[in-house]
Symmetry: C2
Subunit: 251 residues, 2 copies
Amino acid sequence: MHDRQPLAALLRKLRQHAYLGERDADDLFALPVTTRSIAAGGHVIREGDRPTDCAVLLSGFTCRHKVTQDGARQIVAVQIPGDLIDVQHLYLDVADHNVQTLTQAEVAFVPRTAMQDLAARNPEIGRAINIGAAVEASIFREWVVNVGRRDGRGRIAHLLCEFALRMNAQGLSDGQAYDLPMTQEQIGDATGLTSVHVNRMVRSLEADGLITRDKRSVRFPDITALREVAGFNARYLHAGEQAISRRPLNA
Amino acid sequence: MHDRQPLAALLRKLRQHAYLGERDADDLFALPVTTRSIAAGGHVIREGDRPTDCAVLLSGFTCRHKVTQDGARQIVAVQIPGDLIDVQHLYLDVADHNVQTLTQAEVAFVPRTAMQDLAARNPEIGRAINIGAAVEASIFREWVVNVGRRDGRGRIAHLLCEFALRMNAQGLSDGQAYDLPMTQEQIGDATGLTSVHVNRMVRSLEADGLITRDKRSVRFPDITALREVAGFNARYLHAGEQAISRRPLNA
DNA sequence: CGTTATCTTGACCGTCGTCAAACAGGGTGG
DNA sequence: CCACCCTGTTTGACGACGGTCAAGATAACG
């Protein structure tokens, strides 16, 4: 019903973690929004910026990354449609990392103060935002584990499993396949590997029948086997746990 | 003046990011607190728990860690006195990782609901807590970079630099030295290395005059050189930035 | 249809893991 | 006070996972 609303994807995302009714949706859609289309590789936030707006990804894909002193890049998160690109700037003044588009993307900008006011005025939305931030922090922790303690195959398999679940939760995948918006070099930047080694491992996963590829689309005939290779445990995504516990309170 | 209060360390920590006056301090100290002393290696939170309390570290050191399917451990964060051990449980129902003491430690437990109520009742304290959570998320991002893109020497040097600043901010170090509460194996678990390789790198740092050691105490004669090796940029700690921007508003 | 980005493959090498053993320190108990 | 143990540190030999360099094959794109 709200699908024509620019922030419909954000509503869907927030509803993964809190129960938001029609009135909450109206509050959300009343936010002043500026939508911008950004080409692949474009910058949304640069380290050192003092953002005045809060960005929401509407379509396409973006990533957070940092560049070390000697020029190596590490992607620390990937956003899918509906994700709040800078929750942290509701609380922090200076950007500590970059956000860049992986594909052509639509990004909505909401003034920081408007978002802060809404969170204060509507506690359930404020809660939903904070839960989203807590879940993202949990994903960061899992990424530390991923690059710190899994081998190349496992890291890539884990990344694929995480996307599968997150895309699914946003209705962007049927659970069997999805379009992976990343080059092998970018996968390397996300897993702490080089593009050469990513290629070796991807081909190895493919040779073992754990994934099949067609252009940028990835398919997993046996997600259970892939999870096994990844050592994947979905708990860290906290899918749905809050939506259930809160629903009775204000439905 | 409040040094006899159990939560004095928390107040000091929150004041790093927000301006809190005497009334805010009184609100904080009015929280119902149970203090427990826990031996080194004791568990504070286990993955899968549904915590009813919010833990605050008063003295000693704790760490967050996860264990992979094949038994490898990855430490994803270390807490120093004043740190909120489970901010995330203000928003999430199930613990997605473990928290364990590194040393003998004093931990204060505040009922989750009491903490939530305080945050709602006193927005400045709520803000301070959320800023603290945002800074911790920023630290997680930097840790992903650390294990993903730095070599062994750099990872350990970076860890040492981070502690130096954080300990300093809490008044636990003079900026020249501090007691490192971790064994080399634990340093390995935090940096994604083995204890053997940690030893090699620590000795290498020592041989190059970047650090000196005496038991568990670490001293850095030339912090600038150490930062250079670490590729350390303190921005991600967001030290003081909010305290300054907010002070005029309600001082 | 040329140009560029991305993928793929091979050869070689270094960082770091593995395995194993020796060593130092601190605590306990006889 | 010393023997004993346990934990943590240190060192060496060896091997492997993954990095580096370089070239060729494909695919994307204007």
